[in-house]
């Protein structure tokens, strides 16, 4: 495909290695690098005159799958890959509307034919469901001028409007592929912009939620949270209780940062949450990932805080960026999406090495160190995203807006 490809392959390999070695971590960094890499892939991809969108989609999918496999815990990678695929499909669809109609219905029936052989070809159920949805939906703009079945009838309706475009169709193809690439890259640039700047978008809403002399409880450390609280500090004075977030004790670092910004901070242990929650007005936390049903994956201990908040009727607010919204459902969250870290963070090896004796039928002492917690949607009051504040039951709309159902199962 050209001299650029080996460089691109090297870049992708390098990124995958970094992901595997956990040298790149955190949803924002991984999302940013994924988007950058995919933008490179798209700009280097040569597009044939026909089936333009599907070539791009295949290229992005193959690179995306490799990146997702490198670190399955970072859901942000999969989210960005799906966002890019959605951008490609949307730009393709909008170019169809401007151009000649009549070809797009074929893509519809292609999906359907795939659906007919569910058992044999193993096409995912989600793709079939998507095909059903698009078949049953109200006809959109590009379906208005429809293809008429060739039963000998003359096509008297429709083509009169498109006649001038029909003539220049062949020369259009090349400029169309350029247009597609260009608009997709623009879309990806917008996505990159959103990912890098979501902190400030979320922080802008801080004044609406934090009021004078309130007591806020939080847990762990989150960049978004820091910006949010600092933004509110500019105009309001309030107090913050921080759970230290064992075993990493991120809360200590956040407490220091907030105290330096002249905010009254109190550090408490995770176990003290229930004792202190009655004095708190609101709980605000960041999230690692948000699932399609509104559930949140956050640092370990978050579920306890959520339960305490529910018990004392304290609003539980989650700050998140749209790139953290994953279109999948958590079938078995406690097993599937948790990261078991090294037990040395909890127990020092030297202290307990004699209990770890293997000869008498396995170690008697075990230390489990999960990194994440799943909070079910019933415990969450509000999501504050870069597109505004939303109810957990509204997330399905955001998922439908930013992702295509064909991409749910990659």
């Amino acid at each position: 495909m050209g001299a650029a490809m080996p460089d691109l392959q090297a870049a992708v390999d390098d990124f995958c290695t970094k992901l595997r070695r956990r040298q790149v971590e955190g949803s924002m960094d991984t999302a940013k690098f994924t988007a950058l890499l995919l933008r490179q892939v798209i700009s280097h991809q040569r597009i044939p005159p026909s089936a333009q969108a599907s070539t791009l989609i295949d290229a992005v999918k193959s690179v995306g799958l490799r990146m997702i496999d490198a670190n399955r815990l970072e859901l942000a990678i999969g989210n960005v890959v799906r966002r890019v695929l959605h951008i490609i499909r949307e730009e393709d669809a909008s170019l169809e509307t401007d151009g000649v109609t009549g070809i797009n219905l074929i893509t519809d029936s292609d999906d359907e034919n795939d659906g007919y052989n569910i058992a044999q070809s193993g096409v995912s159920a989600a793709a079939v469901a998507a095909a059903n949805r698009s078949a049953l939906r109200a006809p959109s703009l590009h379906n208005l001028l429809e293809w008429i079945p060739s039963s000998g009838a003359t096509t008297t309706v429709g083509p009169t409007i498109t006649d001038p475009e029909v003539r220049s169709r062949s020369s259009d193809k090349n400029s169309r592929s350029w247009k597609l690439k260009h608009s997709v890259i623009e879309g990806v640039n917008e996505l990159l912009n959103d990912i890098e700047n979501y902190h400030s978008q979320v922080a802008e809403q801080a004044l609406e939620h934090i009021h004078q002399n309130e007591v806020i409880l939080t847990q762990g450390r989150s960049r978004t949270l820091l910006h949010f609280l600092l933004e509110a500090r500019k105009k309001r004075s309030f107090q913050v209780f921080i759970c230290e977030g064992a075993p990493r004790y991120d809360g200590h670092i956040l407490a220091k940062e907030l105290a330096e910004a002249d905010l009254q901070t109190t550090v408490i242990t995770d176990s003290a949450v229930f004792a202190m929650i009655s004095r708190v007005n609101m709980v605000i936390v960041g999230a690692h990932a948000v699932m399609a049903n509104g559930g949140v994956i956050g640092p370990v201990g978050l579920h306890m805080v959520a339960l305490a908040a529910r018990r004392h009727a304290v609003p539980f607010v989650v700050l998140t960026g749209l790139h953290k919204l994953c279109p999948l459902y958590p079938h078995n969250p406690h097993v599937l999406l948790n990261d078991m870290r090294s037990p040395s963070e909890i127990l020092d090896f030297g202290d307990v090495s004699d209990c770890l004796d293997d000869t008498t039928g396995g170690p008697r002492l075990r230390a489990v160190n999960p990194a994440f917690d799943y909070v079910p949607p019933e415990l969450i009051s509000l999501f504050i995203t870069d597109s505004g504040g939303h109810n957990p039951s509204y997330l399905y709309r955001l998922v439908a807006e930013y992702y295509s159902p064909e991409d749910f199962a990659l």
Binding site: G115, A125, A126, A129, N132, I148, P149, V157
Partner: protein
């Protein structure tokens, strides 16, 4: 003269350019004006015309019902899918020469099918959706009836295919939610739930199913038999034992007679109970329903449902003054449901009304 009963029964009926009520009033006026020389206006010619038209309609109607029964004879086919296939056949056999005529034929056939079983929500929802889907096309503006008809038939067949494959799609989507080693409670005998569980079992998942007895129709035994034939371990419990067994249940999986606008479901009586108990014990409640069951209704309480009574047998003689509750359906509000598996994807209850709007507009 004309009894109140007859007037209310035939209210709105039109013969010629006037309604039946107008006719009766006009006749009554004439009678009072001149009682001795009164001759009823319903001359044989008028009656004859009406009767002719009625019998014509019945002729066409019979073929729809016949077609419907033909499709229904296949045991695996859902009622609504059979209705959809029958309506597609109506388009094919219609002799209308204009698109409006075709639409009217379809409407009449749809009414006839709905009247065949007035208590079935999925049947009427399926017919309504079919009508909306098929007629919502620019083909209606074509002057050429042949092309327009071909387009309508194509859309009708597409809808029929989607509905036919719906159970398969739902089974594929829902099988991942069945965990290995879990216990599933189910209520009522739903073919969609059966398909889902059979697919999960054939994929090597091991799980245990608890079926409720399902009075008054005793559907639990039927369900248990079907599951046993697929080698899935089954327990049977009486309906009152739902709360007792709920602590060892991991999830509740039910089908639906209809899915309503709020995202709630209408299903066999006892589903609401199971959902309430599950909710209080934090167990997820999953519903497997095809998209043609989405109905444009919004029940506010249990009395808002269309009546579907059946005879309930109580052992021992019941004194006459005791009124037995004979309803066979209840409404489960959306807050007790976790997720709905449909052939349009896995939906949260709040997403259902969104999808309904997309289907109906």
């Amino acid at each position: 003269m004309k009894s109140e009963e007859e007037i209310s029964r035939r209210r709105g009926e039109v013969s010629g350019a006037v309604t039946y009520e107008w006719l009766t009033q006009a006749e009554a006026a004439r009678f009072h004006k001149d009682p001795d020389n009164f001759k009823p206006l319903r001359a044989s010619s008028l009656v004859g015309q009406q009767q002719q038209r009625l019998s014509d309609e019945r002729e066409g109607l019979f073929s729809v019902i016949d077609e419907f029964n033909l499709w229904r004879s296949k045991p695996e086919l859902a009622e609504a899918v059979a209705a959809i296939k029958a309506l597609t056949a109506v388009i094919q056999r219609s002799e209308a020469t204009t698109m409006m005529g075709l639409e009217i034929d379809l409407k009449k056939a749809s009414e006839a099918l709905k009247a065949w079983d007035e208590t079935s929500i999925s049947l009427s929802a399926g017919c309504d959706l079919f009508m909306r889907y098929v007629t919502r096309t620019s083909a209606l503006e074509y002057e050429d009836i042949v092309a327009g008809k071909a387009r309508l038939i194509e859309r009708g067949e597409k809808f029929g295919e989607i509905s036919l494959k719906a159970r398969q799609t739902i089974a594929l989507l829902g099988k991942d939610f069945v965990q290995d080693g879990s216990t599933i409670l189910t209520h009522g005998c739903s073919r969609v739930v059966l398909a889902l569980l059979k697919l999960a079992a054939s994929n090597g998942k091991h799980f245990h199913v608890i079926c409720t007895e399902g009075r008054p129709k005793n559907s639990g035994v039927e369900m248990a038999n079907q599951l046993l034939s697929a080698k899935i371990p089954v327990s049977l419990i009486i309906d009152s034992a739902i709360a007792y067994t709920m602590e060892k249940v991991d999830m509740v999986l039910v089908g639906a007679d209809g899915v309503v606008e709020s995202g709630g479901i209408i299903n066999m009586i006892g589903t609401y109970q199971a959902a309430l108990v599950a909710h209080s014990m934090s167990k997820p409640v999953y519903v497997a329903a095809e998209s043609y069951k989405f109905a444009r209704m919004y029940p506010l309480d249990q009395r808002d449902l269309p009546l579907a009574p059946c005879y309930v047998h109580f052992p021992g003689a019941l004194p006459e003054s005791v009124i037995a509750e004979v309803s066979t359906r209840d409404y489960t509000p959306p807050k007790y449901l976790t997720l709905l598996f449909t052939d349009l994807g896995v939906l949260t209850p709040s997403a259902v009304s969104d999808e309904l709007i997309q289907l109906y507009l």
